[in-house]
Point group: C2
Chain length 598, copies 2
């Protein structure tokens, strides 16, 4: 059975030491989490993750969700109880506004804790995760009445939320959607249509489920400009605002999936269900993106979370499994063989995962801090800069962290040899669960297109130029520091490749958009490597400074950072050149064959 | 439901046009397969694969194998019948010696047909696949009496075979194995112990099962020098050589696996079972490698087979699924959206798979031809050169083709978006099935070590030097051919990187073996890229020549090769530089952390 220990020390290192969390005390919520409180929250979150969520992760995979003939869905044994503990602990409303019952703490803190929870039980955490997105959409686009009506119970976790976008013939291309909304006399709408792949679409853990549904109001323009977002509750509310009679909403079936069996992925049927317009008529896409952007960062986090838990289990196995002898002579001569962690190729896998996880954690938390600034700063300039950054990083965090998260789940599974392929060891579940994160909330190819086709040129390339300048300045500032040289050298090389690729796109993609599409996935990964490399350079700088200061008894922790960061530069960063070469080859060969020639 | 069409035309192109199959008519078996016969055999194999094997592939995944309380195992619905058709068609003995009832045709033909069969149903094909390995071991190491006793029924397919190596505490490190063999008075042995992960260990499709079991004879030396190989039948043979009373062999349980559910992966218990020594006392490792080398090429083929079938289904979906508009303007203006094959990032996936599959097919068939030369040539010099080549290529075919096969199954699944994650579409099965090929018959890390630690230096590096010379000469000979320049340039660059990496290993791995281990996986993939690139260069050369000759109505086929080969050079080969950079960084950082620091 897999195990999990939340990396609290590492999260605190990133927040406090690398990013100077206390610097943001001027933002709402941050001052409520001085170092001791921050640490206590993370430690408490770690406990729930390790002791409540993790032990039922495999149960969720084995049992899955079950739909009864009446359409009601039962979650796996123990899920309901664990969810109640999560809810009662106030974790759902950790970062939600106080006026709706939340604690108003930074999104950053929510993110740090969520990493632990998702590592422990990704399927279970999808129920509150989707609720977060729905809360964000209602906070941003709801009327005061809607907020008062829906948010307190959702923030409390008594009700959960969903996102209903996809239809059988329409996933990425939402302009094709057919679900229709007919205005009723009372100002509400009657929603009819079928949605598929609806995560947490029905279950037995909440009093009510608040579906946010994209639909087309009768007579609306075609395409994406004619879609609107609706609040469609599972149970309609009575005069007191309590769940009452049923609505025309039902789960038609559950999908048989490769993984995340503990989460109910529903086909949802809407049959003249009562819905309430959220945001503007035909403004559904914008409202949806409020949920979506939040959800994309959350999905990127899933990639990191699975990579971390899979890594931890690979380490434990590699220390324990005795097989073969070290190439440099026996390391455990008293045993029949050495533990496989002595073998370089096993190390290669472990170091690759470790180097990614620690930088990925920094990138996620840095993006979360920027998101807090973007939403909470009193300074419009600061908000703009932070918003630029989160907009730019959202597709990268989603696309790169989930691609790598899956790759690392596979890598960790490989460390187990044949046992990795046997379900009872739990490594297969990590692989099967991690796989979905590359697909949902916009498949990673869509993330890459969002980056190259939209984010790059936005506001004249302001966001990307700021990022290049920040990383370039960092390299320049640390140029004369000998201890930083091995790191800034690799980072600068990566940055040069990224800038060359960006220049190539500017010169070649305007006249020929296929060149942008052909470059997109490589560009996203190239960008991700530079962003992660930048995280490493910053962590190493702090580690060096702490070591120079005596490191107060924690020298091994900081030395570890120096080694792991160096591994990243030597073994991971060289990929940037391959990405650049592929990008620069353009779209011609890729597009040359007619469709029938495949 | 997935579909499959065997790429007969492409296999014939590779065999006849690229490698000049008829040139080998001096070898036994080749003359029996003139062009029309070869084509007929491939076409007939394609039919069985498409019409018999493929339709029950998903059934195998859904039903899996079932073990009854008495230890007997039932295979999925339809498997028995399909196996009988395969057997009765003479496919099991296609390449087996005529004296034991085989057809004595080239292993190359068997390989070409096997690709189709495995694409259609990997789980089912494992039953005959393991039998092939067992046949090879008995042919090579058996006494005349043993051959006469066991081979005819195995070649006929009435009996199947298995390989019993792994024990719970010992996989890679066979020196640790504990299964013991006690000599009996009649010259046989009593075998006792437990083996795990035994593919096709028990089932209901054959009269008898011939287990080849590694065990330690009482009093044998420790380590791998004390293990011997035994023939242990499920049912002992009576005086007429027919299966009679039961032996002390039973399937203790079936493993719950991530995939290949149609294959019975058994825990096998041996309780004083009667066994017969195969080969020399304490010579088990050598005998095992006879099976193993054959099996490794077969597993590499599995990687190619799954990559091909997954690719075909991704192509079909990409042509069919309407979503979004082409970046260069609508391509299907009469439809609500364009088929997704118009999008460059979808193309990127399809072309990557296609470029790999076609070169992988060539590499597998070329290695098969060399294997035929190594086993069948009358000329000792030719045998040596061919044997060098197959020895060198075995870990590369196994390691690279299975890593890539899995990667491409994932890539093909991604083309399906959310539908790829739903089991009924069948793409998840390809991913789950492909995963095992990276693990069994020596995990890919072991293949990489075999290459770097053994094959590279063997006979003073004779095999690798011959390969470098062959590829280098090819580049040189075609240097002045303008039409070849885009291909030889990429190939030469890759070869240079490979030679630089080889030089680095020579200079750095002798004194410090960890440098070899640290380089191994990257080196294997670097080698694989050059080998595949060399296949492309040869295919392009033939395509160019045929086009210059008018291409007799098949110009599109050859033009397609030029484009796909070019894609390989532009988009796949650049990875060689990243491999070289990683290799040259050495083992220091990788090995720096103590085990407890992970």
């Amino acid at each position: 059975m897999p195990t999990y220990t939340a990396p609290v020390r590492d999260s605190l290192f990133v927040l406090n030491e690398v990013f100077g969390y206390e610097r943001y005390n001027n933002l709402p919520g941050f001052a409520d989490t001085p170092p001791d409180v921050l640490e206590a929250i993370l430690a408490e979150g770690a406990k729930i993750a390790e002791n409540v969520m993790q032990p039922i992760n495999r149960v969720g995979d084995l049992e899955g969700c079950v739909r009864a003939d009446d359409g009601s869905v039962t979650t796996p044994e123990g899920f309901g109880q664990a969810y109640q503990q999560y809810r009662e602990g106030g974790w759902m409303g950790l970062a939600a506004p106080a006026e709706f019952g939340g604690q108003g703490l930074p999104y950053t803190v929510h993110t740090a804790v969520s990493e632990f929870m998702v590592s422990a039980n990704m399927s279970l955490m999808m129920y509150p995760g989707l609720t977060q997105g729905a809360i964000a959409a209602i906070v941003t686009h709801g009327t005061d009445e809607q907020k008062a009506k829906w948010l307190p119970k959702m923030v409390d976790g008594l009700w959960t939320g969903t996102m209903n976008l996809t239809e059988p013939h329409c996933g990425t291309d939402l302009g094709l959607l057919r679900t229709k909304a007919v205005p009723a006399d009372d100002g509400s709408y009657r929603i009819s249509g079928q949605k598929i792949f609806i995560s947490a679409g029905d279950h037995d853990m909440a009093e009510n489920i608040v579906h946010l549904v994209l639909a087309r109001i009768e007579g609306a323009p075609k395409g994406v400009k004619g879609i609107s977002l609706f609040i469609v509750p599972k149970l309609k509310l009575d005069a007191e605002g309590n769940p009452g009679e049923g609505n025309g909403v039902s789960c038609g079936s559950l999908e048989e999936k490769m993984g995340i069996h503990g989460n109910a992925t529903c086909v949802m049927n809407y049959d003249e269900a009562t819905g309430y317009l959220l945001g503007e008529e035909h403004g559904g896409l914008k409202a949806m993106f409020t949920m979506m952007n939040e959800a994309r960062l959350g999905v990127g986090l899933q990639g990191l979370s699975i990579s971390e838990v899979a890594y931890q289990n690979a380490v434990a196995y590699a220390r324990d499994r005795l097989q073969g002898r070290s190439l440099s002579g026996p390391k455990a001569p008293d045993k029949p063989a050495d533990p496989i962690i002595v073998h370089p190729d096993i190390r290669r896998s472990l170091m690759t995962m470790k180097a990614f996880n620690e930088a990925g954690r920094a990138l996620v938390l840095w993006t979360a801090i920027k998101s807090d600034i973007a939403h909470r700063s009193a300074d419009a300039g600061d908000r703009e800069i932070a918003s630029d950054y989160t907009g730019l990083m959202t597709p990268i965090v989603k696309g790169v962290l989930t691609d790598k998260g899956f790759e690392h789940a596979v890598m960790a599974q490989q460390v187990f040899g044949g046992h990795g392929y046997i379900e009872e060891w739990g490594m297969s579940q990590f692989v099967r669960d991690a796989r979905i994160a590359m697909i949902y909330e916009g498949a990673n190819g869509i993330q890459a297109l969002d980056l190259v086709g939209r984010k790059l040129a936005l506001n004249g390339g302001r966001a990307v130029q700021a990022f290049f300048k920040e990383v370039g300045d960092f390299c320049e500032e640390n140029r004369s520091d000998e201890k930083m040289a091995p790191y800034t050298k690799g980072l600068k090389k990566g940055l040069n490749d990224l800038q060359a690729a960006t220049m190539w796109l500017m010169q070649n993609a305007m006249a020929k958009p296929d060149n942008a599409g052909a470059a997109s996935t490589d560009y996203m990964h190239l960008f991700g490597l530079v962003a992660l490399g930048y995280m490493w350079a910053q962590m190493v700088k702090v580690a060096n400074a702490n070591l120079a200061d005596g490191a107060s008894g924690d020298a091994a922790f900081y030395e570890n950072k120096l080694v792991t960061g160096r591994y990243f530069m030597e073994r991971v960063m060289p990929e940037t050149a391959a990405h650049l070469a592929r990008i620069s080859s353009g779209a011609d060969t890729m597009m040359a064959l007619p469709a029938e020639a495949f």
